[in-house]
């Protein structure tokens, strides 16, 4: 702290030096005279500050605290100075003492009460105030809490020291002059100063409250008053600082106001003081909440109000009025504003996670509220609002312990009966002994009851009841969503037209609802199971099949999820009975055909479905397994390497389990008695049991073994060797999900590096052997994924074309030259002939002439 003092002091020194300068500076005057412009400019500014410095320094320099205050004020003033010069000129003199008076008074009273112990903390308080102020300017709550922590430490110390000393008198002393001064100042100072002042005021009040809430509880009302200001920033700051204060001073119990009867009774001073404290706290808290809830409806304050509400609910869910807070939070849980929604969801989640804070009451309440919310909004909410249910936890031991206890009781009763019988037999047991036993039992029961009343742990039965209520509300919501999804669009659209047009898609809540059902499937009552399965089955069939409007249909991944959830529900309740969910297998069989990787159908969901339905199932019909094997094989031909890998892993799993299905790996077409009545493979059959897949051959595997992706091709070839090879030591620990994820990750790196190499190699071989088989061509085409490859291919193609064209041109030229040469030769011959004729003629002529 000493260090800090020194750090703060130095700025004060320059004014002292200035005083000296004023006396001595003749040369300076000269200088000023020479350049008047400077002087005029300087004089205006300097006179004010200098006078102020002088007065201040002269009056009260002894106290360092004041120096701090001065500095702070000076800052504000210097800002203002530039705006108003003459008008304020009087003010500083007035305002400064006022300010100092304010501080002085405030601190003097504090100091009077306990000078010695408080000297150091006071300094600290001041620093806190300063830091608080800064923080508020930055509107950060985090730093506030830091300051609070420090304050808390102090508070505990102080409270121990001087709880009895302070009475309400001091408060009155403080508040009255403050109010007067406040009134005076308000008239005079401008808005900006008022803003700064209010900020300081808030900080001071907050600090005082934190320092000693018991005696300063009245300040709460004052702070509330400040936060009713017209200035938005002040309101926000007020709300936030009140939040910080409340978070700190709210006790760990629920306040119960005394009844009239209790009030009439005479009580000790201490009790009266506590009552006063509690009632003030409660009333101001109530006022604060009312204000928050009112402000939450105004768009400009919504963020701040919601943040305050969420923070309060998070910090003090046990306190009075938490129900109102919950209502406000749940109302905003599916807000269109991302920030508000996230805040609310996080709060509700933390409420669910930290049940110890409020004993589980708030959880049940929140769940009920959300359920009602969903009901009112007709399931048109943001998915986040239902996703919070996922963080609910239900202790399963509660029921069990109860059961075991019951069992114990029964045993005990039996024992007692035996004992009674024995006692009846031995009637000669003395009465004294008997009475003593009774007394013992009686006292034991009393002690037990007392212990129960005192113990903090809530009653097990009570907790069980609350949990079951919560659970029923959760499932009620889930079933409502499922039912709503089942409704045909025609009905729903009517309802929607009247309500808010939700921008959340057709079934926004279905996905989180299914997730939740999967998570809590072990808690569903068996009586609901039938209905639930029926619901899921209809959904898996694609919603209502009656009208095929596109918006009514669920997406493939949603339908796949329905299948997965159905299996999860069945499996987690599968204690005694092994139920075969044929319908869902049929759905999966058909959904495989509808899957499109580029239509936002999630491959992960598909992989999960393959895993839960096909890999984890215990047994399958031979027919069904064969149908799935065939379809998966065909499927993996048509899609990317990741999907193909997932399908192939599943396929291998199925083949390992169903030895008979390895007939599919033989080259001969099976069929006949093996494939039952359906003698021919029917690829378009809707029911896997009727597809007759056993009559087909897995020719796809040989194509897949030429797959461009090395791991797919190796897996395919290993599967095709399964029929002949007798080594059954396959490691089938890999699940389709994992395989899918692996290849997805690998895909990026793979596509760039390896693919190019293999492609170019293959292209070379292709070019060399002009007669390429059809299937390699198909394979070749599927692999061209990037633009570069396509470019390369096209350029190659055009080079060949160009070559051919060139060849033709050359050949034509050759032909032409050849023909021209021939022509020339002929011409020559003819010429020679004619020449010969001519010469002959000439000779003849010559001869004749001669």
């Amino acid at each position: 702290m000493g260090k800090k003092k020194k750090v703060i002091l130095p700025p004060q020194l320059p004014p002292e030096l200035k005083e000296d300068e004023i006396e001595v500076s003749d040369e300076d005057v000269q200088f000023v005279k020479e350049n008047r412009e400077y002087a005029g400019f300087v004089s205006k500014l300097d006179t004010q500050s200098i006078t102020r410095h002088v007065t201040r320094v002269a009056n009260k320099k002894e106290e360092e605290i004041e120096a701090l205050y001065e500095k702070r004020i000076r800052k504000n003033r210097s800002l203002e100075k530039e705006n108003e010069e003459d008008g304020v000129q009087v003010d500083p003199v007035d305002a400064l003492p006022v300010k100092t008076l304010d501080g002085k008074l405030y601190y003097r009273t504090m100091a009077k009460e306990s000078r010695k112990p408080e000297d150091a903390p006071k300094e600290d308080d001041n620093e806190n105030a300063m830091s608080n102020e800064d923080n508020k300017a930055a509107k950060s709550i985090v730093k506030l809490t830091k300051a609070e922590r420090r304050a808390k430490l102090k508070k505990s110390k102080k409270e121990a020291k001087k709880q009895e000393k302070e009475l309400t008198k001091t408060e009155e002393l403080q508040t009255n002059p403050q109010a007067e001064v406040l009134a005076e100042v308000k008239e005079e100072i401008s808005a900006e100063e008022a803003f700064a002042m209010k900020k300081c005021k808030l900080a001071e009040l907050g600090m005082a409250l934190l320092a000693d809430p018991e005696s300063n509880i009245k300040f709460l009302k004052e702070m509330l008053q400040i936060s009713k200001d017209e200035d938005h920033n002040i309101v926000k700051l007020g709300l936030l600082s009140l939040l910080a204060v409340f978070k700190d001073i709210i006790p760990g119990y629920r306040i119960r106001l005394p009844t009239e009867k209790e009030q009439e009774m005479t009580v000790s001073k201490a009790v009266r003081k506590t009552r006063y404290y509690e009632s003030t706290l409660l009333s101001s808290y109530k006022a604060y909440l009312q204000k928050l809830i009112a402000l939450e409806k105004q768009p400009s304050f919504q963020h701040v109000a919601v943040r305050c509400i969420c923070a309060l609910l998070d910090a003090v869910p046990h306190f009075n009025f938490s129900d109102n807070l919950l209502v406000a939070v749940v109302k905003n849980i599916s807000s269109f504003d991302d920030v508000i929604r996230k805040l609310c969801c996080a709060t509700v989640k933390s409420l669910f996670a930290n049940e110890g804070k409020h004993g589980g009451e708030a959880t049940g309440h929140a769940v009920h509220l959300i359920a009602d919310h969903v009901k009112v909004h007709d399931c048109q909410l943001h998915p986040d609002s239902i996703e919070v249910f996922l963080s609910l936890t239900f202790a399963e031991d509660l029921g069990r312990s109860e059961l075991s206890k019951d069992a114990g009781d029964v045993k005990g009763k039996k024992n007692k009966r035996k004992k009674n019988a024995e006692e009846l037999k031995n009637m000669q047991v003395s009465d004294r002994k008997k009475s003593r036993q009774e007394l013992l039992a009686k006292t034991r029961a009393e002690v037990h009851a007392d212990l129960k009343a005192v113990s903090f742990a809530p009653d097990i039965e009570e907790r069980r009841r609350m949990q079951s209520e919560t659970l029923s509300a959760v499932f009620q919501t889930y079933f409502r969503i499922l039912k709503h999804t089942l409704q045909p669009t025609s009905i729903r659209s009517k309802v929607n037209a009247s309500s808010v047009p939700g921008g959340f898609g057709a079934h926004p809540l279905l996905a989180p609802c299914l997730d939740g059902l999967g998570k809590f499937s072990h808690l569903i009552d068996l009586d609901f199971m039938g209905d639930l399965m029926n619901c899921l089955k209809k959904l898996a069939c694609g919603g209502s099949s009656s009208d095929d409007s596109p918006e009514n249909c669920l997406t493939v991944s949603e339908r796949l999820r329905c299948c997965i959830v159905a299996f999860k529900v069945m499996r987690s309740n599968l204690d005694a009975l092994n139920v075969d969910l044929n319908e869902f297998y049929v759905q999966l069989y058909n959904l495989l055909l509808e899957y499109r990787p580029n239509r936002a159908d999630q491959g992960e969901v598909l992989a999960e479905a393959l895993k839960t339905l096909l890999c984890e199932g215990r047994q399958h019909d031979m027919q069904r397994a064969a149908a799935f094997i065939k379809r998966l094989c065909t499927f993996s031909l048509c899609f990317g390497s990741a999907e193909a890998m997932a399908a192939l892993v599943t396929l291998r799993h199925l083949l390992q389990k169903n030895v008979k299905c390895r007939n599919l790996l033989e080259n001969d077409v099976g069929g006949g008695s093996l494939s039952g009545l359906v003698a021919k493979y029917q690829p378009y059959a809707m029911d896997p049991n009727l597809s007759g897949a056993l009559a087909s051959v897995l020719w796809e595997l040989s194509l897949l073994s030429k797959h461009y992706h090395p791991s797919v091709s190796t897996l395919a070839s290993s599967i095709s060797n399964m029929g002949t090879g007798h080594s059954q030591a396959y490691l089938s620990t890999v699940y389709p999900q994992q395989a899918f994820a692996d290849l997805l990750i690998e895909k990026e790196s793979f596509d760039i590096k390896k693919n190019l190499g293999t492609l170019s190699r293959k292209m070379k071989s292709l070019r060399r052997s002009s007669k390429s088989s059809c299937d390699t061509c198909i394979e070749y085409n599927t692999k061209l994924e990037t633009d570069d490859e396509i470019k390369q291919k096209l350029s190659n193609h055009f080079i060949v074309l160009k070559g051919i064209a060139e060849n033709e041109r050359l050949r034509k030229e050759l032909n032409r030259t050849v023909s021209s040469l021939k022509l020339y030769e002929e011409y020559k011959k003819q010429k020679r002939k004619t020449q010969g004729d001519h010469s002959k003629a000439r000779k003849k002529k010559r001869l004749s002439s001669v």
Partner: protein, 187 residues
């Protein structure tokens, strides 16, 4: 030998529908490759001496050559009409039902024998059961290795089966392949 009249047809189809549901269509429409024709014919139902036969059309044509009194059997016998006029499925139709069955029950290996001696299926012997079987539905009984063993009527729905004690009856026995030995003469 004659085609079934309307009343008889409804009786037969109702019984089959109980076991196969919508797959009944497959039974009626499945093509037959018997006979010299290249074009596949269909199967039809014929009544001969109170027994109902599932016969291909090609065979029916040929069977007309034989005197009604001397014709012992043709095609697959699937059931018979009792003196009271009701229709009962017999074990010979098991293959037809097994392929198209809607509700199935798989028996544990230990309780297979009991079923093949003509006893009902108890819950203790139940290996697996199709989901949402309702009480009164026709159920085809399989061994764990998917060999059809017989058929019967579900006594309890799947949901009720969960709560049933191990000695409760799940499937009421109607026919099983043990009858080929036990009742060789009657069949």
């Amino acid at each position: 030998m004659r085609p079934l009249d309307e009343k008889e047809t409804t009786a037969v189809f109702e019984k089959l529908f109980k076991f196969t549901g919508n797959n009944l269509k497959n039974i009626v429409e499945s093509p037959s490759h018997e006979g010299p024709d290249d074009k596949p014919g269909h199967y039809c139902f014929r009544l001969q001496k109170n027994k109902v036969y599932y016969v291909s059309e090609a065979l029916v044509k040929r069977a007309t050559n034989i005197d009604r009194n001397k014709l012992v059997s043709l095609g697959t016998c699937i059931g018979k009409f009792t003196k009271g006029g009701s229709f009962h499925l017999t074990i010979q139709c098991l293959n037809l039902l097994a392929v198209n069955a809607k509700h199935k029950v798989w028996l544990k290996p230990t309780s297979e024998m009991s079923f093949l001696y003509g006893n009902h299926v108890l819950k203790g012997g139940l290996g697996r059961i199709t989901e949402n079987t309702a009480a009164g539905d026709g159920v085809v009984v399989f061994s764990m290795s998917d060999v059809p063993l017989g058929f019967g009527i579900a006594a309890k729905s799947t949901q009720d089966c969960r709560k049933l004690d191990p000695n409760g009856i799940v499937v009421l026995h109607q026919a099983d392949i043990g009858e080929y030995l036990r009742m060789e003469d009657d069949l």
